[in-house]
């Protein structure tokens, strides 16, 4: 055997490992840096007043309360719309649909909904909710737009959750005389719940962070008052960050980083929560 060749192979092996490892570092390191920079520079801005008071002095002072509240309204509205619809769609695909042309079409539609650019959702929301249904730029128009955008997230997660429930659960329930819906309701859904919850939280996180879909459907540059009905415009956190970092010159760095930190915290906590729920569920599952 040629020893030089073996040596070459060893060196190759080492180089390959090193290259793959460093590409992973290059992917992960910037994330850590971004988080670190935002936390370090933003933490000083966080105070009770920053979170719970109105912006003052052309957004140069005061807090971000209306934007924070607006985002909560929008996210709540989006989930109220998307969760029932997404869950029922998943139930249809997993429990009812046969593998035919229609169900394949539904799956193709979901794949495409997941890929539609967020700004196109914004256009759609503007065309249908703001203009066609005469909602105007309002919380309801923004919520529905965001709801449609997170629909594929919720459907996909719920589908996986339902599919992970063993077939035997259904067979036993049906053999005891339960109807199809009773079986789904009492023998399938309870076991799929953590997975559905995970999907819902991921959807919440996505809706909280998106800017483009709310640009033309609800988001206001600045409002002196809090919204009082679902037909009012509102400020929203991601749009507020966009406004103070590009549209208004001279906003202090502290306020910008503080706003970014609050948004990032909100979204990452939701995602972390979803990851934990999922891994707990996977460990516990023993069928």
């Amino acid at each position: 055997m040629n020893f030089k060749n073996i040596k070459n192979v060893r060196i190759q092996e080492k180089i390959a490992s090193a290259v793959l490892f460093s590409s992973t570092v290059l992917v992960v390191l910037p994330v850590v840096l971004i988080l670190a920079v935002i936390v370090v520079k933003g933490i000083g801005a966080i105070s009770w007043e920053f979170l719970f008071s109105m912006p003052r002095n052309g957004m140069n002072a005061g807090g971000i309360f209306p934007a924070l509240l607006g985002t909560l309204y929008l996210v709540a509205g989006a989930i109220l719309f998307a969760l029932p619809l997404g869950l029922l769609t998943a139930i249809y695909l997993v429990e009812y649909a046969r593998d035919n042309f229609l169900s394949r079409l539904v799956k193709l539609a979901i794949v495409n909904l997941a890929g539609v650019p967020s700004v196109v959702y914004g256009l759609f929301g503007l065309g249908i909710f703001v203009t066609f249904f005469h909602f105007g730029a309002s919380i309801i128009a923004g919520s529905l737009t965001l709801g449609i955008m997170i629909l594929p997230v919720i459907i996909t997660a719920s589908r996986e959750a339902l599919e992970s429930v063993p077939k035997s659960f259904r067979v036993v329930s049906l053999s005891l005389g339960a109807s199809k819906w009773q079986t789904i309701r009492h023998s399938v859904l309870p076991h799929a719940l953590p997975g559905i919850l995970t999907g819902t939280i991921l959807g919440l996180g996505r809706a909280a962070g998106e800017t483009a879909p709310i640009l033309f459907t609800v988001a206001a540059f600045y409002l002196p008052k809090l919204p009082t009905s679902i037909f009012d415009q509102t400020m929203a956190l991601p749009y507020h960050l966009y406004v103070i970092s590009t549209q208004v010159p001279g906003i202090s760095e502290k306020i910008r980083y503080g706003t970014a930190l609050v948004l990032l915290f909100l979204v990452l906590v939701l995602n972390l929560f979803a990851i934990i729920v999922r891994s707990k569920f996977r460990k516990r599952k023993k069928w």
Binding site: L26, I91, Y242, V267, N271
Partner: protein
């Protein structure tokens, strides 16, 4: 409950579920219809050729010119740049996570990648604006650091999570026997990874790349914040550019509803919708190829 009432209840529930099930199809159709409804009126004054291949995007001059070639090239340039950065890094780290990393590291890395995917694009844009912009300006001695290059770098990081997680799934799905057979024949780990695993997972990796690129093309906020927004035909990576998405987001607020500018922005939306529809459809086909292989063994 008596039998008859139960039957009726079942029937109603079944219909409700069916209706919800087909909503997705209806929504896709509605999106397309509403884009057409608002956008098609543009083509009564501008020909399709002038729209797609026109070299000037001057929506507010008189008479306005609606050529989106500079925007298409802007999107293309930024996307190609992002692909050049994110494809080798993404596939490399997917291979590392799936084949080399120990179990514990793997879980942590996967969670990290998932968190990267979750960072809102406006936050990434904000960071790019503050850090990358000045860096590129000083590095290349430019009048502005907000260029196609800063857009490419920023977008590369937005494509990475998609590429890594889907490619990693595809690599993990390669049956263990393949690896065992290669190892039994004396192949080293790297030889196995490169010649057996990477080839077997190829359709899934291609799907991952396509979905990553789809995300880049559709990305709006980050790209609008860091590319400098000049709607000119770009000649180098170090110039400001304007993408299709950013044009819609930046200009919709200033248009008159029902006017030609408004219609032109919806027409750009149609172009984007069609591009992403094709990319996602093809990626889905590749994903299913990977899946079929897996089940066949």
């Amino acid at each position: 409950m008596n039998y008859r009432a139960r039957k009726i209840k079942e029937y109603i529930i079944e219909k409700i579920i069916f209706l919800s099930g087909v909503t997705s199809i209806i929504v896709v159709l509605l999106i397309f219809i509403f884009l057409l409804k608002e956008g098609l009126s543009l083509f009564s004054t501008v020909s399709l050729k002038d729209f797609l291949l026109g070299r000037n995007w001057y929506p507010i001059s008189n008479p306005p010119q609606y050529g989106i070639l500079p925007l298409i090239l802007g999107s293309l340039l930024v996307t190609v740049g992002a692909a050049v950065i994110s494809i080798p890094l993404g596939v490399g780290s997917a291979l590392y996570i799936a084949e080399i990393a120990p179990q514990r590291t793997r879980e942590i890395l996967k969670a990290g990648i998932e968190l990267l995917a979750a960072i809102p694009s406006v936050v990434i844009g904000f960071i790019g604006l503050i850090t990358l912009g000045p860096l590129i300006r000083n590095l290349f001695h430019l009048p502005t650091g907000l260029t196609a290059l800063s857009g490419s770098v920023t977008l590369a990081f937005m494509a990475m999570p998609t590429i890594v997680s889907i490619a990693e799934d595809a690599i993990t799905a390669v049956p263990r026997q393949y690896r065992e057979a290669a190892t039994a024949m004396g192949a080293t780990r790297w030889q196995t990874t490169r010649r057996i695993v990477a080839i077997a997972a190829r359709p899934g990796i291609i799907a991952a790349l396509m979905l990553g690129i789809g995300r880049v093309i559709g990305e709006t906020m980050a790209v609008m914040m860091v590319t400098g927004n000049a709607a000119l035909i770009p000649h180098s990576l170090l110039q400001p550019v304007r993408t299709l998405t950013a044009t819609i987001a930046a200009e919709m607020g200033e248009t008159v509803q029902g006017g030609s500018h408004y219609a032109a922005l919806f027409a750009i939306g149609i172009v984007l919708f069609i591009i992403t529809f094709i990319i996602n459809g093809v990626a889905d086909i590749y994903l299913h190829k990977n899946l079929k292989k897996k089940t066949k063994k």
